[in-house]
């Protein structure tokens, strides 16, 4: 039992339950609509409404920008339901500093779009369709994430 508390100091069931729910969401979206529900594409496809360059006006963005925004809206809705129904609406915050969130986010957005996928796109959908390029992408971002979390993220305030 001490091994379990060492590996999962904050419990383990809610991680597994949450992961299974996320899997069910991706599976159900595929079963009902045939869509592959990664999350990072919405950050490019939504710009296509404002930025009329050939890159953003690619069919893969303009054809999917509507449903991707609805999907993102659903993401907020589901999280709001958890907040109200499960958490009781307690105030949420993070100790991670604003500049870290902003700079980290900038690299996350740029990298995910250059690499065509994030933790859900390559991680869940890519691995879920057993594609080896996604496995390589996951291993790559895991290694660099371990490195930056244990260097930059620790050294800087």
């Amino acid at each position: 039992m001490s091994l379990i508390t060492t590996l999962f100091p904050l419990g383990w069931l809610h991680y597994l339950a949450g992961g299974l729910l996320i899997g069910c969401a991706v599976a159900l979206l595929f079963a009902l609509t045939g869509r592959v529900g990664g999350m990072s594409t919405v950050f490019s496809s939504s710009w296509s409404w404002l930025i009329k360059t050939p890159y953003f006006l690619q069919a893969r963005y303009t054809d999917s920008r509507g449903w991707r925004l609805v999907y993102a809206g659903g993401l907020m809705l589901g999280a709001a339901l958890w907040w109200v129904l499960v958490d009781g609406g307690t105030p949420q915050s993070t100790r991670v500093s604003a500049w870290q969130l902003l700079l980290g986010g900038l690299l996350v957005g740029y990298g995910a779009r250059l690499g065509n996928g994030c933790t859900s796109g390559h991680g869940i959908c890519g691995l879920g369709s057993l594609q080896w390029p996604s496995l390589l992408a996951v291993l790559t971002f895991m290694v660099t994430a371990f490195l930056s979390a244990n260097t930059l993220g620790r050294w800087l305030p």
Binding site: I51, S120, G121, P133, F146
Partner: protein, 141 residues
């Protein structure tokens, strides 16, 4: 032509699936950057259960459903998003990881956190949106 069949039902289904995803992210505390950073610092392996559980269900659906039926329940067709291993994927994934390790936030949680009242993560959301913009304007279409 199938794109417009069952239009309203497709919108509703997409919203509900998004909500299920967001509920799962919130329940598994992935919208708390601290928990993600604990994983990346080898202090809490919960994220492995989240990814493992999600991938397990997804494999079954992606591999199994097209054998059971030729079309999705609300029309259209089963899409395939082929990943490629090339220079952009390698460099992009490496940069993504650097940022993820720095802030503990990835695209899904950045969106979901706003619904769950963790408004500090709006900084990450803005960063991701600007990062995606920079990637798009510096790439030739």
């Amino acid at each position: 032509m199938s794109a417009h069949t069952n239009g309203f039902q497709q919108v509703l289904a997409t919203l509900v699936c998004g909500a299920l995803f967001g509920f799962g992210l919130a329940l598994s505390t992935m919208i708390q950057p601290e928990v993600v950073l604990q994983f990346l610092r080898f202090e809490n392996y919960g994220l492995m259960l989240v990814m493992g559980g999600a991938v397990l269900v997804t494999v079954v659906a992606y591999k199994g459903l097209p054998r059971l039926t030729t079309t999705p329940l609300l029309g259209g067709q089963f899409q395939q998003h082929a990943s490629q291993w090339n220079r952009d994927t390698a460099i992009g994934a490496a940069i993504f990881g650097l940022g993820w390790g720095l802030c503990g936030v990835c695209p899904g949680p950045a969106i979901a956190a706003l619904g769950a009242g963790n408004w500090d993560l709006v900084y990450a959301l803005v960063g991701i949106a600007v990062g995606a913009l920079l990637q798009g304007v510096t790439t030739r279409g």
